[in-house]
Each structure stands twice: as structure tokens, then as C-alpha cells.
Amino acid sequence: MPSTDYVALARELAPVFAQRAAAHDKEGSFPQENLDDLVRSGYTAMTVPTRFGGGGATLAQLCQAQQILAGACASTAFAVNMHVHGLAMLAELGGATTEWACRSVVEDGAVIAGGFSEPGIGGNWWHPTTTATPVAGGYELNGRKGFFTGFPGATLLFLSASQTDDRGIGQPVAFLVPKPTDSTDSGVRVSSAWDAAGMRATGSHSLALENFFIPERYLVGESGSLPMLFMTGVHWAWCSFTSVFVGIARAALEHVAASQRNRTLTVIGKPNAHLPGIQFRVAEMATKLAVAEAHLNAAIDADHSTDVDPLAHYIDMSLMKTTVSSLCQEIVTIGMQVQGGSALLSADPLQRMYRDVVTGLLVPPAADVALEWAGKQALGVPVFDEPRWVG
């Protein structure tokens, strides 16, 4: 059990983050002061194992805390998400790099950002096009990374690349490496700064990796082991991602319910909450939220041990993310209708939630692949069979 109550900590930090959210959203600026608060308060050490001085938080604690942050400022929660869940996955892997990273987090306030998305691979993260070429003392990486969430605030980069094995086949490998502090000629260049409709304050830049040298010691795990590592640890990723969207949806419902209890139209003389149309739509929101929470919680509480078939585990987690993030987007959309025209005003946080929550439909795992794999598995069709479909 962690000595820190991270859920209480999230509750403590949330109101300040909520106040700062509108400005960062407007400017698309990175909420560095929020990240500093998270480091200072020990939030970023949450998933570091206790043996390395961290909090050793459980998946359930991580997810609950992230939901609370997301309800206040979804960008902040999303920006720190790769850090908190990535550390948990690394901790399960073990090894020297992991220990070094964990100690950096606890002792030096290190923050990890991760990049597994690339232009041209869609949701197929197991097929990176970034190449890792062995050179003296390490590797040289070349390629492009998209949606590198949290990059501005990171001190460590968690990166995937493809290394060609002795059969000439590309195998995904991963590195955890200090972010170059020298912005020129370091091999890591922001090729396109983040500018988007939602999650605007996540600093999810696109990067160009150009002969980026990484010393050998920063390699994580063994070559080729990445897909299996990711499948067996995927609950950390998909449950924490999903928590961000559930947090937004819950905040939207609470905000809408409070607004409608307080808003009185002159023509009806009672709060809007007394209108059956408002009640029925709020009921849809509340019901969908209960479903989203229950499905997420069931995934959090599921058996994540190696007793479970890794593919089935990966599929169950992916289906959960697909189903729940879709429910969350519906909840906020209904909320917009309940709230009415004022929901569109920048002064109403609901419009930011509407823009942020749609990200849930867009981040990995891709819904179509989740449904395809779930269908194939149930129907006894191997998921990697070629041709992919026959008709």
C-alpha cells in the first residue's frame, strides 16, 4: 500500500488546475506549473515501486486519481498519463534502465513522455517505421513521431523504433533516454508544434528524429519482446487512457447538473432542472456514465496475471477502451444539448470538454482494429492471418 493517498492528492490539486485550464486551452500553452505541482507533490512518483522509493500505486488508484485530474484539466491528466502508466509498465519489466528511471523520478523529479505514434502506421504501434541502427556504443534513430504528448515538460523520452534483426525482419525495440537539452543538433527536433482543437495544452508535438544517438544502456527490454510486453501490461495503458475520458464525462455531468439546478428561466419561474426534457437527457448522461465507470472498473479489477491469454487480455482491454470512450463522447454531446447555446461560449468549460473528449475516439487502440480482433478471436480466425479478410 502506498503511504500517499494519491486520490486525495488529485482532489487537492484539481481546483487549481481547473482554474488554470481555460488559459492554457486558449493559448495552447503547456501547463508546466501543473506538472511542477505534480512533481513537487509526489504525484509523479505514484507508480514507482516502493522498493525504489515510489508510491507503488495500484492500477485502481492511478485510474481514480487520473479521472479527478482529467475532470479539472484533461490536458494535464493526459500529458502526465504516459509518465504514470509507463512507469508501471516499466516496473513490471524490471532491469537496470527501469531502476535508473525510477530513481530519477523519485530523486530528481524526472518526467517521462512517450512516443509510439507515427505518421503512416495508423494504430499499428507494433510496426514502427522509425529505424534504430546499431552504431558504436548504441543506436542511431531516424524517423518521425507524432502526438508526442507531454514533450515540453519531459526530461526523459520513451521511444519505439524498429531494429532489423539477422533475418532482415524489423523488430520493435524501445528506449528510455534523457531528453536532449541542447535543442540544436541533438537529433531530436520539433517538426511541428502541437496545435489542435482538443487537448490543446498537452504539447503533443511532432518530432523528427535525425541521427539521434542513444547509448546502449538506454535500451529497454530485449529486442522483439516489446509487443508481448505491451500486451501483457496493456491494462496500465488502456485503463489509464480511458480514465481521462471518464473523468471528463463525469465532470461534464456534474457541471451540467449544477448549471441546470441553478439556471431559472423567467418564462418558467423554476430551475430548468424541473423540465422533464432536461431530466430525461441528464438520466441518459448519468446512465451512460454509470456504464462507463462500471466497464472501466471491471477492466481495472480483471485478472492481469500471466495466467490470462495475452491476446484475450489485450482484446478485452481494447474493447473496454473503445466502448467506454465512445460512451464518454456521447455523454458530453448530450450535455451540450442540455446546456444549450451557452455551452458553446468559451466561458463555459463544457465546450472544452466537448473538444477534449472526442480525443478518446482518436487515440489508440483504434476502434476498428479492436472490433476486428475481438470478432476474429470469438470466431476462431487468427488475428494476423493474411489476407486480412476474405469475401
Binding site: L253, A273, A283, A286, A290, H295, T323, V381, V390, G391
Partner: protein
């Protein structure tokens, strides 16, 4: 019954007892499905199935531990109902009525009544409760059945619809409005325990339901039914509180029936597709549309199961806010019955035209699943309760709206 009694005698481990109950339920569901294919169209009551459930000790799962019973939790009741629904919606629903009554009653009645009811249930008794009064719009707070005081007892008159399981019943729970002037609805509501075969209860109209046709949900005429004082289950004015505080049983157990139907529809869709071919498609399972539909049903079912399980384990006892608790118990019922319809529709589409052939199981599921939103709490009542509660409005305050 034999099974259950042997168990207690042998002091069998409760987990083992539970394993045997679910295994038996699973095996019986397969038998029930075969019978359903024979009997559904004719609408024959599932009496054989209820006898099997009695023999397996499943009807006795809510007998209190102090009376040697399994004393099943609400979550365990739901699990059994869900399993039975895989084989036969009518059986699962008929059993659910008995489960709701026995499950909710055991903690609320005195020792003597408890021994009377659960002694009978332990020995194969089956309790039903026709709760829908003639022209009451399913609103139990406004009963049209009346109980007049007479000597030391009562005389009951009225018409009750949807007396599910009547033919198998050993006992009926009959609600009626006391005619005492000092009692206003809903506090005039009283509940009586009636032995099956009592004079004054007769079938007014036989059940021939479009959905759940084998539940024998007849309409009953109650004329001059005489009750002793001790047949009244709760003190005056308490029955409505009992009904309110036990809505989780009805809402969750009903939801479990429709979850089970949806799960079976999904299984049928997979069975009918896996490894199948036709002149134009060498392997139906390799069509993307089929895969997406199966994947999407899996996602829906996982959501439904998570939701119902969560509520059946975490929202089981009312706290201080009784009406708020009732509103919460509507959530899984509302979601599951409506989502079940969507899943059965999708499964039917995967199965395709062959599902239209007579006697097809998917057709039976399509009919049965429509009963879900029509059972109390109906969709609109659920929306009203959930919405008002979320907005901080008491769902039973008047006026209901502007």
C-alpha cells in the same frame, strides 16, 4: 430439494455448493432450450422446468442459513437467473419472480412467517406475486385491489394481471389497498401471503403473451378472498417501505434475464457463423462485417455485465436516502434491457435470413427481449427517477413537473 438438503447435512463448503448450483443451472439451461424449441409457439407453461429447478435445490437458494439454506446474495441470484435465461427466457423470468420475493422477504419478516414461508420453500415451495392491478398502469402505489377488514381478518377483491408462474405456485404474495379511512396511498398498501388453491382466487384470463409466452402469466380474479390477520406480512403502513427498499431485487433480477437473453443471442450468432460457408463465401467468419458485429456485441455485453455486477455488489442496501437509492437501482435495469434489444437485433442480423425460419431460437429471443423495457421500472419512469435524482429533485415530490 434433495440436493440442497444433502448439502447442508454434509456441511459442504459454501463455494463448492455454489459451484454445484451454477453447474446444475448451466446444464438445466441446455435442457430448457431444447424444451423451448418445442413449447414456445404453443405457450405451454414451463412447469417441467420449475420442477427441475426445485429438484436441483435452485428454488431454495434464498432459504436463510439459519434454516439450513444457501442464503444466496443478490449477486448470486442474478448469476443463476442470467444462466437460466441462456436456455429459456420464460423460465428465467418465472424463477426471477420467485427469487425477488424470497430474496427480499427473508430479512423483513418475523420468525414465524419466515419459518412458514422458507420452510415451504426449502421443501419445494414456489412463491409468486401478481403485482399488477387492473388499470393501475403498473403503479403499485395506487392499487385497485382492495382489502376490507372483516372480523379479525380481511376480505380481498380485485383483479391481478401478470400472475407469472401461477401454475407452479404454492404461495402467492397478494398486495391490496386497505380501505381504512385513516390510510392514504401509498400507506394503505398491504401484502398478504396466500396459499395456492385458496377459495376466492381463480384464473380470469389465460396468458397468451407475445413475449415470454411460457410464463403462465394469467390474469387472476380475486373475489371474497378471506385472510387471517397473521397473513398480513407487514404492520400497517410498512408494506410501501418494504417495496421501496427492495426495488433493487426487481430491477437487478429483471435486468439479469435480459442480459442472459442477449448473451445467448451473441452465442448463437457466433455458432451460426464460425466455420460456415455458402456458394459465394468460403468462410463467413472472415467477412469484416461479421467480425465487427461480433466485436461490437462483445463490447456491449462486457459493459452490461460490468454494470449489473457492480450494482448487484455495491448498490445492494439502501442508505438514508431511500428514494435516491431506488433511483440508482434503475440504472442497470434501464441500460441492460434496452441494450439487450440492440444486441439481439445485431445477432439476428448476423444470423441472417435463416433466423426467420420457424422455431428458430433467435426468433424466440427477439420476442422475449421486448418484454424488458415494458416491465417495471419502465423506461420513462427510469429516466424520470434517474434524471431527477441526479438533478437533486425528489422523484416522488408533487407536482411531478411544471
Amino acid at each position: 430439494m434433495k440436493g440442497a438438503i444433502d448439502m447442508t447435512d454434509a456441511q459442504v463448503d459454501r463455494a463448492e455448493w455454489w459451484r454445484q448450483l451454477t453447474e446444475t443451472a448451466t446444464a438445466l439451461a441446455e435442457v430448457f432450450e431444447k424444451r423451448s424449441l418445442d413449447n414456445y409457439e404453443r405457450g405451454r407453461f414451463v412447469s417441467e422446468n420449475i420442477e427441475d429447478l426445485k429438484a436441483a435445490g435452485i428454488t431454495a437458494i434464498n432459504v436463510p442459513a439459519e434454516l439450513g439454506g444457501f442464503d444466496a446474495t443478490l449477486a448470486e441470484n442474478i448469476e443463476i437467473i442470467r444462466i437460466l435465461a441462456h436456455g429459456c427466457g420464460s423460465t428465467a423470468f418465472t424463477f426471477a419472480i420467485h427469487a425477488v420475493i424470497t430474496g427480499s422477504l427473508r430479512t423483513e419478516i418475523g420468525r414465524a412467517t419466515k419459518e412458514r414461508v422458507f420452510g415451504a420453500v426449502r421443501d419445494g415451495g414456489f412463491v409468486i406475486g401478481p403485482f399488477t392491478d387492473e388499470s393501475s398502469g403498473s403503479n403499485w402505489t395506487m392499487p385497485s385491489t382492495v382489502a376490507r377488514r372483516h372480523d379479525d381478518g380481511f376480505v380481498i377483491d380485485g383483479v391481478k394481471h401478470f400472475a407469472t408462474g401461477y401454475e407452479a405456485a404454492t404461495h402467492l404474495l397478494v398486495t391490496a389497498g386497505l380501505t381504512d379511512e385513516h390510510l392514504t396511498p401509498p400507506f394503505n398498501l398491504a401484502a398478504f401471503l396466500v396459499e395456492a388453491g385458496a377459495d376466492g382466487v381463480s384464473v380470469q384470463r389465460e396468458w397468451g403473451g407475445f413475449a415470454m409466452p411460457m410464463t403462465g402469466s394469467h390474469s387472476l380474479a380475486i373475489k371474497g378472498l378471506q385472510m387471517d390477520a397473521e397473513d398480513m406480512l407487514f404492520p400497517e403502513g410498512i408494506a410501501p417501505l418494504f417495496v421501496m427498499s427492495r426495488q433493487q431485487w426487481g430491477n437487478y433480477c429483471f435486468a439479469a434475464v435480459f442480459l442472459g437473453l442477449a448473451e445467448r443471442a451473441y452465442e448463437l450468432a457466433v455458432e451460426r457463423t464460425r466455420g460456415r460457408s455458402n456458394t459465394s463465401i468460403s468462410d463467413l467468419a472472415r467477412l469484416p462485417g461479421i467480425q465487427f458485429a461480433v466485436g461490437s456485441m462483445r463490447g456491449s455485453l462486457a459493459s452490461m455485465r460490468s454494470l449489473l455486477h457492480r450494482y448487484a455488489t455495491e448498490h445492494v442496501e439502501p442508505g438514508d436516502d431511500l428514494v435516491g437509492f431506488v433511483a440508482q437501482t434503475c440504472i442497470p435495469k434501464y441500460y441492460v434491457v434496452n441494450e439487450a434489444e440492440q444486441v439481439v437485433a445485431k445477432a439476428f442480423n448476423v444470423i441472417g435470413g435463416s433466423g426467420i425460419q420457424a422455431g428458430s431460437r433467435i426468433g424466440q429471443l427477439w420476442r422475449d427481449v421486448k418484454a424488458g423495457p415494458l416491465l417495471p421500472f419502465t423506461n420513462d419512469i427510469c429516466r424520470e427517477f434517474i434524471g431527477k435524482h441526479t438533478l437533486g429533485i425528489n422523484p416522488i415530490e408533487q407536482p411531478r413537473w411544471l
